[in-house]
């Protein structure tokens, strides 16, 4: 049968450079490369190539490159090739299109339309190499009162909070969607960095309880892997209401990824699909959320902050206000560029709003209502660099969740094929021969390096603005200017235009 599909990529092999070491064939889980004995050379069938760059990265003589095919359908401004191809694919299978990682469509990226200020003349910039520069961050509800007894002992209550030595955390990625080695890398890096990683909705592998002080345990609609010991193990509990990549829908971990270990950790039978419902079936309204928040607090003796994670959707500010009044200590907002291990393509590419706008709206709303101190705001989806992070913090974020950037540190090349479960980099897979490709010893060090580098860059930019502590950057929108933005966009972002 004709499948109407032509491969998206072509593999270009420089025969003069190829030494036939076969590493490409050995490392391609999609079996694109092969050695042909008769021809005594490497051959390729690009049909299954996902352009993950594993072969290119490992080829010792740089004999390989992968290029976009220049085979074109008849040009049509209304029907781009990708839509035609997707129609063919669905006509062949009758299925919903699946994608992975964040929304790649050419919507505006507001980070790229915001510029950062620096000191000149009237006040000095500060050199982080010579002066103290603080990026330590507390997350959680702020104390409401400050009273001392006669001896000066503090009487006021403070609420459970997280202390971050850097303003970055690793966002929720479940064991199942990513490999055990990926989780170990994240857990060890978070511990070394004095920050936190997040279990996602996959439970906590028994080997990782020892990293509990640096773990945020997630409770999502499927309640996978949730039990008393799990809740007690983490430093904070996150209720996942939504995910930026797929607002309004649940999750689906195919049975193929549910091996013995995953099955045990998730507390579900081996080989069964793990389906997280779209809503929590005990939360159909805001007052139900309040009950879950306090159930979890009750279960953990009010010792841990509770995070509520939502996707950035149109009325995110009102939703956040409701959450802030429901006892949550931290609100995490996930933008539409946020990653996923699998999502329906149409949802990933068309639902939700940019994190920049959502963050600006939420921060402003909470301040207008005078309740900004009730909650901390953590944003993700997607912050791609230290400068994005500085802009996010100046817009009002308390800290940053990094998912995609963390995976990049582990080797991810954003081929967006996680749902295929054959990640050649050992990240989004459970196949033992692939999982072992991610050595946590390397992985954790690369994560630590990335965060250290970003932290240095944040400090450099803060110093340039004459700010020596991140608290003074938080919500400091005067440090930002828009470029090429409309009045409306500037109004929502709460910033002036460059030149003003």
């Amino acid at each position: 049968m004709i499948d109407f599909l032509y491969p998206d990529y072509e593999i270009i092999r420089n025969e003069k450079r190829c030494i036939t070491c076969k590493v490409c064939a050995r490392q391609c889980a999609n079996e694109v490369h092969a050695y042909d004995e008769e021809l005594d050379c490497m051959v390729a069938d690009e049909k299954n190539c996902v352009n993950c760059q594993r072969c290119v990265s490992l080829c010792p003589t740089r004999a390989l490159k992968i290029v976009k095919t220049n085979n074109v359908f008849k040009e049509n401004a209304n029907w781009p090739q990708v839509l035609i191809t997707e129609a063919y694919r669905q006509a062949a299978t009758g299925g919903v299109l699946l994608s992975s990682m964040g929304n790649p469509q050419p919507y505006p990226v507001y980070w790229d339309k915001i510029l950062i200020n620096a000191s000149q003349v009237t006040n000095p910039s500060i050199d982080p190499l010579r002066e103290p520069m603080e990026t330590q961050t507390f997350l959680g509800k702020k104390p409401q009162t400050v009273k001392f007894d006669k001896e000066g002992n503090l009487l006021s209550e403070s609420y459970p909070h997280l202390k971050l030595e850097v303003p970055f955390m690793f966002s929720a990625m479940s064991y199942g969607s990513i490999s055990k080695n990926a989780h170990e890398s994240l857990a060890r890096a978070a511990t070394e960095l004095g920050t936190f990683y997040n279990t996602g909705e996959g439970g906590l592998h028994e080997d990782f309880y020892k990293y509990g002080e640096h773990t945020i345990v997630q409770v999502a609609s499927g309640r996978f892997g949730v039990h008393k010991k799990y809740l007690e193990a983490g430093a904070a509990i996150e209720i996942k209401m939504g995910q930026g990549a797929k607002p309004g829908i649940g999750g689906h971990l195919p049975g193929i990824k549910v091996g013995e270990d995953v099955s045990k950790t998730r507390m579900i039978p081996q080989g069964t699909d793990a389906i997280s419902p779209a809503p929590h079936h005990d939360i159909y309204s805001i007052e139900d959320l309040r009950q879950l928040i306090f159930s979890l607090k009750e279960a953990t003796h009010y010792e841990k902050p509770v995070i509520v994670k939502i996707a950035a959707v149109h009325n995110v500010a009102a939703i956040a206000s409701g959450i802030a009044r429901s006892g949550a200590d931290i609100i995490s907002i996930d933008g539409y560029r946020g990653g996923t291990g699998a999502a329906p393509t149409r949802i990933r590419d068309n639902v939700g709003i940019p994190i920049e706008l959502a963050l600006a709206a939420v921060d402003a709303r909470l301040r207008d209502e005078g309740i900004r101190n009730e909650v901390s705001i953590v944003v993700g989806g997607s912050i791609r660099s230290a400068s994005d992070a500085v802009k996010a913090i100046a817009l009002g974020a308390d800290a940053i969740y990094l998912g995609t950037a963390a995976l990049l540190a582990l080797g991810c090349h954003l081929c967006r094929s996680c749902h295929g479960a054959k990640c050649n980099w050992g990240i989004a897979t459970q196949r033992p021969d692939l999982v072992k490709r991610l050595n946590p010893e390397i992985g954790y060090e690369r994560l630590v390096n990335l965060i250290h580098a970003w932290d240095h860059e944040v400090k450099e930019m803060m110093g340039g603005m004459g700010i020596n502590s991140i608290e003074a950057l938080r919500g400091n929108r005067l440090m930002l200017r828009g470029i090429g933005l409309s009045e409306k966009e500037l109004e929502i972002l709460g910033i002036a235009h460059a030149g003003e």
């Binding site: 003069k16 590493v23 072992k436 490709r437 050595n439 010893e441």
Partner: protein, 143 residues
């Protein structure tokens, strides 16, 4: 003394170590030349492949090496803990090949045997260690 060790948990069986080893011992300045069509190359490290476990094997540089004891021509010797072969003395009897319990001495079309010298003739970290994409091969001091 620093030696090369392999951790089978992380060995992917990609065989790159073999190619980097061959290249390092080829005397060529670039890898493509080292493997020019028809050119025979011999790695001193060999990946043993199993279904789930792979393991790159090379000379352990034993403290009390059987190969050196058995060498009939005095070609094998220990220098600073490294077992080296003197090509000018090796007669190709292969006694060492037979006596090495790890199968780490290799032969090819040339008469003299080949074995790992921890890249003593090259500089710094052995080529197999440098080329391993997963840090499965390490060069370190162990007691």
């Amino acid at each position: 003394m620093k030696k090369v060790y392999v951790n089978e948990d992380w060995c992917l069986g990609c065989h790159l170590c073999e190619y980097y080893c061959s290249f390092a011992n080829s005397g060529e300045s670039n890898m493509i030349k080292a493997f020019n069509k028809g050119k025979k190359t011999t790695p001193r490290i060999v990946v043993e492949e199993g279904s789930a476990i792979n393991f790159a094997v090379q000379c352990r540089h034993c403290d009390d090496p059987l190969c050196v004891k058995g060498c009939i021509s005095g070609a094998l010797s220990i220098q600073n803990g490294i077992i080296l072969v003197d090509d000018t003395k090796c007669v190709g009897c292969y006694t060492c090949v037979l006596s090495c319990p790890y199968g780490c001495i290799v032969t090819d079309h040339e008469k003299v045997i080949k074995k790992c010298d921890l890249c003593a003739s090259n500089s710094g970290t052995p080529a197999c260690v440098q080329g391993c994409p997963n840090a499965a091969i390490v060069f370190e001091e162990r007691s």
